[in-house]
């Protein structure tokens, strides 16, 4: 599988995403500089975490205008997979590729810790390998992850099965205490209506190796690979 990892000058999880895609999941990875206007041949675009252009304004507000973003839009419109993690999610929201917007965490502080995710949709290209009933333990690390949308949009994303992950207790219960940042409906990650673009605040790339003592993030990468391989084999046959 060919992966393009975008690199903004303030990206800081780009090498982590490269490492995990390459070393853990055996993909071939190209790093794509923000000033490029074309993507190399790509099956998956990863928009990594970090502070794209410093994010002194609103996270991702400037990055959406980066030269490379038009190519990412086009890739998505053609059905290609796009995966935004943390700052990548914020950028996808600002670019209008995912619904809703991000606000500062409810207690206005950066939070870095493990949280649990209830998986709401096991059908998507990003979640099909996650066992039913399994909650995922994955770390978060952000200052601006308090997702919000209009009631109408919120209802629509529910109806269309776009919510993939919600913050929950280890047992999968949705409680205010298990919502670290105040996100509407405990939303931690969602897909677009076509199902080929995912944005999530937690960092699955930090939770994909036994050496680090936390591995649930690998279900997401495995889902992506499984679906890609299935699609590839169906095209061949």
């Amino acid at each position: 599988m060919k992966v393009s990892v975008l690199v903004f000058p303030g990206s800081n999880c780009d090498q982590d995403c490269r490492h995990v895609c390459e070393k853990v999941f055996g993909c071939s990875v190209e790093m794509v500089w923000h000033r490029e206007t074309k993507l190399p041949p790509t099956d998956l675009v990863v928009i990594p975490g970090g502070f794209s252009y410093g994010d002194y304004l609103r996270a991702g507000a400037i990055a959406r205008f980066a030269p490379i973003m038009a190519a990412v839009q086009e890739h998505a419109e053609n059905g290609g997979l796009v995966f935004g993690i943390c700052n990548g999610f914020q950028i996808l929201l600002e670019a209008g590729m995912l619904p809703g917007a991000m606000r500062m965490n409810k207690d206005r502080r950066f939070i870095c810790k493990d949280i649990h995710l209830k998986v709401e949709n096991h059908e998507s290209a990003f979640s099909s390998a996650i066992p039913e009933g399994k909650t995922l333990k994955v770390p978060i690390a952000h200052h601006e992850g308090n997702w919000v949308a209009s009631e109408e949009t919120y209802q629509r994303v529910i109806d269309q099965g776009q919510i993939l992950f919600r913050y929950a207790t280890a047992e999968g219960e949705l409680t205010p205490e298990s919502n670290p940042n105040g996100s509407m409906g405990n939303v931690a990650g969602l897909i677009n209506s076509q199902g080929n673009v995912l944005g999530m605040m937690p960092h699955p790339e930090r939770a994909s190796e036994t050496e680090l003592g936390i591995t649930d993030g690998s279900y997401i990468f495995e889902s992506i690979l499984q679906n890609f391989n299935q699609r590839a084999s169906s095209i061949v046959s």
């Binding site: 800081n12 207690d107 950066f110 939070i111 870095c112 690390a141």
Partner: protein, 741 residues
């Protein structure tokens, strides 16, 4: 021509005073220059001869510290020191203070402290992989403490998180001795290839000198001089001397520099830290024994109308001085353009041995390099010992009298409560290296480049230092090493950050000299030489000096054969062991500080032979995969350390230590015992552990088992959920966090 005091005119005397220079120093300047200095030159002398830049009060003592060993790749004197790991990979590290700015403006002060130490490390050619810090605040009751704590933690998070460097370990401490002068010590660890190290020497006559990074503004002018004076009631007015941080620019500067190092461009490089363009120019020229000529109008400026004095003394952040190989100018320009950073040739290396500064063709300064840099004045300041035996304080009337209530009370107080509200604001996982996270002592990071892991910790035994600075410094080294050995790693070397009061006070100077002796003894005994460091004097407000606070950062190493040992237990039915070092004592303990309101008594001298044996034993157990958790028996003694060992943040369990004898009560529960550790192991390993202890000549005591929902230690019987809840929420009120989430 020789000048005398009578040549110091009233106008000159006034200039000297406003620059923090003494009349003796003023006379020295006249004799060096053989003329009256130009106004800018007074500024240069003031910055370079400030305590902060010149180490004039400490230099003669710093030479006593051990700095050599087969593991040392680069010792003190460069921007950072380095130790050898494996595969030709070095760990490059240094710790630095940013105390004064952080008290004046906690957020920016702490942020730029982190920015500064990061630059010191990546200027060497290393990629930073971990940040640590040691932060000390006044009493938890002091009205300014919450504001300072929130600001400092927020500033450290703001800078480190954006840089993508995980903040993995540290200390957050409270003591009334820091009420009016907090300590913010920041450390960075980077990795570099042995043959990819860059030093800060301006070699090669005729080589171009480049300025890269952020543009120069009017911020932080005379920061180094400010940091070399005591505070008075006017501290607020010094706010403009604090720099403002821009971590996004620094992130670009980091990547641009690392890209630059891959090309054959850089001859020498140094960050513009304290005293900005002045110190970088003089230090680079001094290391090479050369001169530098600068055309100041070429310096990229943030605003119009700046003058040479401001350009030389601004402490604007995120800037570097690069001496490039002649002919490589285009590569340099290309890389900095890619990263949208300022880049300008401002001068060249000369053979004059002088720094010559020009402003639109006019010479505005011409001074000899060496006399301002390593040839700066050195003072052997007088010392006067103070007693190391102190009255033993009485229990406060409000103190509870049973050990269970005491444990609950101390754990619910910010003095011993959970630091998670602090370290959860720091991204401690970025770079996917963190194997042992903050909260348990030393952190462990994988370094696949070297096929192993580093273990890192920062430490200052400040309560012990109050009683006896030499013994306190010894314990500081021992504690840090013990934390690292507990994870399974071998301690390699330290960086020091020596925070003291006014060196012109003989008792303070004595504290400093004693602490140096203590560090020396500790470093020699544990084979952890000093590879880099920093001295921060004048931590004094209204004639009140801070407690002597020699802080260190330590780096240890283990190979991939070892499974790093965490500081937390996660399973029921584990056996708990006390590895007995010295006898526990309440003198200088956290218990005494909290329940008596102050510390007193006398410290016994810790035994480094026992210390080495215990640490080696801990590493053996880790290597043989016999322990599930290991922890230094630290502040608060056995009861507090055992409780913290249970608080893993996930699965809560109690312990049953029935065999614990409560005879001699409080001292057994809360006394602090140098060299001691607690271990947890699976029941099946019992015989092997006992045999290994015997072989290692280490005294071991079985304490009991983990499990149940009660904390049962001798006469202490507490519900573990309540105890955990109280500990977890202890810092919340100070940090403005509501307790319901």
């Amino acid at each position: 021509m020789t000048y005398s005091m009578s040549d110091i005119t009233p106008a000159y005397a006034e200039a000297l005073e406003s620059h923090g220079l003494t009349q003796d120093e003023g006379l020295r300047i006249l004799n060096i220059l053989e003329r009256k200095p130009l106004p800018l030159e007074v500024g240069l002398f003031s910055a370079m001869w400030s305590e902060h830049c010149s180490y004039k009060s400490s230099r003669i003592h710093l030479g006593k510290l051990p700095t050599e060993g087969p593991q040392v790749a680069i010792g003190p004197g460069e921007n950072a020191g380095a130790v050898k790991l494996n595969n030709g990979i070095l760990a490059v590290f240094k710790m630095e203070s940013h105390n004064h700015p952080s008290y004046i403006e906690p957020f920016q002060g702490a942020a730029t402290g982190v920015g500064g130490i990061l630059r010191d490390v990546f200027t060497m050619g290393a990629r930073p992989i971990a940040n640590l810090n040691s932060i000390r605040f006044g009493s938890t009751e002091h009205p300014k403490t919450p504001h300072l704590l929130l600001g400092v933690v927020g500033g450290i998070a703001f800078y480190g998180n954006c840089m993508g460097v995980p903040t993995v370990a540290g200390e957050t401490e409270f003591h009334a001795g820091y009420d009016d002068n907090i300590l913010v010590n920041a450390m960075t660890v980077g990795i570099a290839k042995e043959d990819g190290i860059f030093l800060g020497a301006a070699e090669g006559i005729g080589n171009p000198v480049f300025y890269v990074g952020s543009r120069t503004g009017r911020d932080g002018i005379h920061g180094a001089t400010m940091a070399s004076a005591s505070f008075d009631d006017e501290a607020e007015a010094k706010r403009p001397t604090v720099q403002v941080g821009d971590p996004f620019t620094e992130k670009k500067l980091l990547e641009a520099c690392l890209e630059l190092f891959k090309e054959d461009v850089v001859v020498g490089i140094q960050d513009m830290g304290a005293a900005g363009l002045t110190s970088s120019t003089f230090e680079m020229a001094d290391r090479a024994g050369k001169g530098i000529r600068i055309d100041l109008e070429q310096v990229p400026m943030r605003e119009e109308g700046m003058v040479p004095y401001e350009l030389m003394l601004s402490e604007s952040q995120e800037r570097m001085l690069v001496v490039a190989r002649k002919g490589s100018e285009a590569s340099l320009q290309r890389i900095f353009e890619k990263w949208d950073l300022a880049c300008a040739q401002i001068g060249e290396v000369t053979d004059s041995g002088r720094v010559e500064l020009f402003w639109h063709g006019d010479q505005v300064a011409n001074v000899p390099v060496h006399k301002l840099a390593t040839g700066a004045p050195k003072y052997d300041r007088p010392t006067r010992p103070r007693p190391t035996t102190h009255p033993i304080p009485e229990l406060l009337p409000a103190a509870p009298d049973d050990p269970g209530a005491m444990l609950h009370s101390i754990l619910s107080n910010p003095i011993a409560g959970s630091r998670s509200p602090v370290y959860e604001q720091y991204d401690h996982m970025v770079q996917v290296r963190t194997m042992v996270r903050p909260g348990g002592g030393a952190a462990v990071l994988r370094v696949p480049e070297a096929e192993g892991m580093i273990s890192v910790a920062s430490e200052c035994a400040h309560r012990a230092c109050i009683l006896d600075p030499r013994e306190g410094a010894r314990r500081t080294v021992a504690d840090a090493a013990r934390k690292i050995s507990a994870t399974g790693a071998l301690p390699l070397a330290i960086t020091d950050c020596l925070n003291f009061g006014n060196p012109e006070v003989p008792e303070v100077m004595w504290e400093f000299v004693e602490a140096i002796e203590g560090l020396k003894e500790g470093c020699l005994a544990l084979n952890t030489p000093v590879v880099s460091g920093n001295v921060s004097f004048y931590n004094e407000t209204r004639d009140q000096s801070i407690p002597p606070s020699p802080t260190i950062g330590m780096v240890g190493w283990m190979d991939n054969e070892i499974q790093p040992v965490p500081g937390f237990v996660r399973e029921d039915g584990l056996e708990l062991w006390l590895v007995k070092g010295a006898e526990p004592s309440l003198d200088g303990s956290l218990w005494q500080q909290y329940f008596c309101g102050t510390v007193g008594g006398e410290l016994s001298k810790m035994d480094f032979e026992i210390e080495s044996r215990i640490q080696s034993f801990a590493r053996t157990l880790a290597k043989k995969k016999l322990v599930a958790a290991a922890r230094n028996l630290g502040s608060g003694g056995l009861a507090v350390s055992l409780a913290k060992m249970l608080f893993n943040g996930e699965k809560l369990m109690g312990l049953k230590c029935g065999s614990f004898s409560s005879e001699d009560g409080t001292r057994r529960y809360f006394g602090e015992a140098p060299s001691s550790m607690i271990l947890a192991s699976a029941a099946g390993h019992r015989a092997e552990i006992i045999a290994l202890a015997k072989e290692a000549n280490v005294e071991l005591q079985a304490l009991g088992q983990t499990g149940g929902q009660e904390f049962n230690l001798g006469d202490i019987h507490l519900d573990i959920n309540r105890l955990y809840g109280a500990w977890k929420a202890a810092l919340n009120p100070l940090m403005g966090i509501s307790n319901d989430c």
